[in-house]
């Protein structure tokens, strides 16, 4: 072919764009309604997918968007879980009321862990986070009076009942957690979406792509990186908090080890670093790969597969599954920012373009992806 087929151009904020978003939402809602009727086990699996998606979305903020590779996010996951566990078991809190506390605790710890990131980069930061992840179970064991130590912490089933206002009966813990996780996941997705598209999100990515240029453009690298780590830890902690409710028994040496941190990172890399839907795909991978391979190789096949996939992804599709789909998708359709409003606030031009954008526009090179902003 002498000329590549031009991709279909869609402007943000136009009717077409809204219809597509609407279609996506309807699909998602249809899936949720379908999953609502699942049996207990399958619904539990979906709940776990959502919990891991939340945790990976947190990791994505630091590693995907800011480029601070963390090999210790299992510690935030564990910290969130233990915050919930301890508050519920020792202080009689309602499980769902502990989520904001877990968020806050993990945010603060994230800020502290992020502090070295001001001076340390790349591999060295990875060592720090690695040591943080490895040290976490030790700290839990040390604080055995609070955390139950190496034997673990058991949250009795009676403490995890759905609250009365939710309308679920006493025995419907699984269903309640399913909806709670879904709600939290949606909130997290919206928060991440808005964060990434905000000034602050642009600052994160600028810091990731070129520190010097970012600093020269007036970005305060210190604040941006530390806060990114805080937010990242906080979201992962919320995942951990839900995980505690899901599992009901916390053993730091089982659930929050280095291998767990690598699983989160694997999920992120498979799903796609710095993509919005990557964490969900990652959650699916982290839950279902071990599930389908549990009969092979004494239960160790999942680790081998994770490792192999991690390496393979780095070789063939460094942008992950979501990134890869996005790249292929841009051959068919590109999404471009809305044309800025004219001064005076009239939407006339945007409307006009909305009509036009049904057809591929004759403008520039077709393969520029998001860069192919049309000129008036």
């Amino acid at each position: 072919m002498s000329e590549r087929t031009r991709p279909y151009v869609v402007h943000r904020g136009t009717t077409t764009h809204r219809v597509m978003i609407g279609a996506g939402l309807i699909l998602a809602a249809a899936f949720v309604l379908w999953a609502r009727g699942f049996g207990q086990f399958n619904q539990g699996q979906i709940t776990r997918v959502m919990i891991y998606a939340i945790a990976i979305a947190g990791l994505n903020i630091a590693t995907g968007y800011t480029g601070l590779v963390s090999v210790g996010h299992s510690a935030f996951f564990g910290l969130g879980a233990y915050t919930t566990g301890v508050l519920v078991v020792s202080h009689g809190w309602k499980p769902e009321a502990t989520i904001p506390v877990a968020l806050f605790v993990c945010f603060v710890v994230g800020l502290v862990v992020g502090l070295p990131a001001l001076r340390i980069r790349g591999l060295y930061l990875a060592i720090v986070t690695l040591a943080f992840g490895v040290a976490f179970p030790e700290v839990v064991a040390r604080l055995s009076t609070i955390t139950g130590g190496a034997e673990g912490l058991t949250i009795r089933r009676a403490m995890l009942q759905p609250p009365t206002w939710s309308g679920f009966a006493i025995g419907q813990k699984g269903k309640w957690l399913f909806w709670l996780s879904l709600f939290v996941l949606v909130v997290v997705m919206i928060v991440v979406h808005n964060l990434v598209r905000s000034r602050y999100g642009l600052a994160l990515m600028a810091a990731r792509d070129n520190e010097l240029a970012a600093a020269a453009s007036g970005i305060n690298l210190a604040t941006v990186k530390t806060v990114a780590f805080g937010v990242s830890g906080a979201l992962t902690g919320v995942g951990g908090s839900l995980f505690a409710m899901y599992l009901g028994s916390l053993v730091a040496n089982d659930s929050f080890t280095l291998l767990n941190a690598i699983a989160l990172l694997t999920g992120l890399v498979i799903g796609g670093e710095g993509t919005r839907f990557g964490p969900i795909l990652g959650g699916i991978a982290v839950v279902y790969i071990p599930y389908y391979t549990s009969d092979i190789g004494q239960g160790q096949a999942a680790a081998v597969l994770f490792g192999a996939v991690l390496i393979l992804i780095m070789f063939i599709a460094p942008e992950g599954v979501a990134g890869g789909i996005g790249r292929l998708g841009r051959n068919v359709m590109v999404l471009v920012p809305a044309t800025p409003k004219r001064p005076g606030g009239e939407r006339s031009s945007a409307r006009g373009l909305g009509g036009n954008s049904e057809r591929p526009r004759r403008q520039g090179q077709s393969i520029g992806g998001e860069m192919a902003t049309p000129t008036d």
């Binding site: 001076r119 690598i262 160790q300 680790a303 081998v304």
Partner: protein, 299 residues
């Protein structure tokens, strides 16, 4: 005094182990300015190989050499096939590939040999009566053996680096890969050899340390903490300095033993947290470590 000596001896023994693993990190870092996160898992895998060979009736000394050979091959193959292709892209890619190796090897060990703990044969005399008494304190033969092994490795390595053409090439690549290549050094080959050498040292250390270090058994998480301790030791000494690895490893081992012995209010079980603190403090305040030559960070 006896208690002090006891703690000193156990600190030096543990320190010698950290020195060995730290050296394997340093050998890789010197040649390719990267930290091999899978270093500990290389050693775990080859320790499993050695254990498996001894269950087949091979004497442990022969199994040790076999393990080192396997380790060397693994190092060379990993560098050539997995690390080198992604090196040019960025540091993160190398890091993630190393983490992939980490999980894959850890899982492979469990897959092949089972996840339960393994009773590991002792290569050094480890009986209840195998000790000297120095000023009322027991110095076990296996501790002496580990220290001697560490000295042997350090001597051989410094001979290799300073007295052989290969060592000269390795130092040239470490200092400036481009100039080395222009001077006719086959940089790729030197890198592969460094990784192989490093993994062989790790295997040697693994077989020696598993019976000595608590819990004296081989299990899948044996090397997580050792990697952290060795990283702390290597950073303390300076990641590109072999001398630094020796000083850093010993200092770290002795300090750890003393703190656990004397600072009892810390509870005596916070080694990893201590290592974390050391790592952070070194990286923040003196990223080159005690003997590191290069500046690691440029702002």
């Amino acid at each position: 005094m006896e208690i002090f000596l006891d703690r000193l001896f156990s600190g030096v023994t543990a320190g010698s182990i950290y020195v060995l693993i730290a050296l394997s990190l340093v050998v890789v870092f010197r040649s390719s300015t990267t930290i091999n996160f899978a270093q500990g898992e290389f050693a775990l895998f080859t320790s499993f190989v050695a254990w498996w060979l001894t269950t087949k009736g091979l004497p442990i000394v022969l199994a040790l050499f076999a393990a080192m050979a396997v380790g060397f091959t693994m190092g060379v193959v990993a560098e050539r096939a997995l690390i080198r292709p992604v090196r040019r892209r960025n540091e993160t890619a190398v890091l993630i590939v190393a983490l992939g190796l980490f999980t894959a090897l850890n899982g492979a060990d469990g897959w092949i040999w089972g996840a339960n703990d393994k009773q590991f044969p002792e290569i050094l005399p480890h009986g209840d009566n195998d000790y000297f008494v120095i000023a009322g304190s027991r110095l076990h033969y296996d501790s002496i053996g580990i220290v001697l092994a560490m000295i042997l490795v350090v001597t051989l390595l410094s001979l290799l680096f300073n007295r052989t053409p290969l060592g000269l090439q390795m130092r040239a690549v470490a200092t400036n890969p481009e100039s080395a290549a222009l001077a006719g050094v086959k940089v790729g080959r030197v890198l592969s050899l460094s990784w192989g050498l490093s993994a062989a040292i790790g295997s040697f250390a693994g077989v020696l340390l598993v019976p000595v270090l608590p819990p004296n058994q081989l299990d899948l998480s044996s090397f997580f903490s050792i990697l952290i301790f060795a990283s702390a030791a290597a950073l303390l000494g300076g990641l590109d300095s072999a001398k630094g690895a020796v000083v850093g490893g010993l200092a770290f081992g002795v300090a750890e033993s003393m703190i656990n012995g004397y600072a009892t209010f810390l509870g005596g079980s916070m080694q990893l947290t201590f290592a974390l603190v050391i790592i952070v403090v070194i990286l923040v305040f003196k990223p080159t470590g005690l003997f590191g030559a290069r500046r690691l960070e440029r702002v």
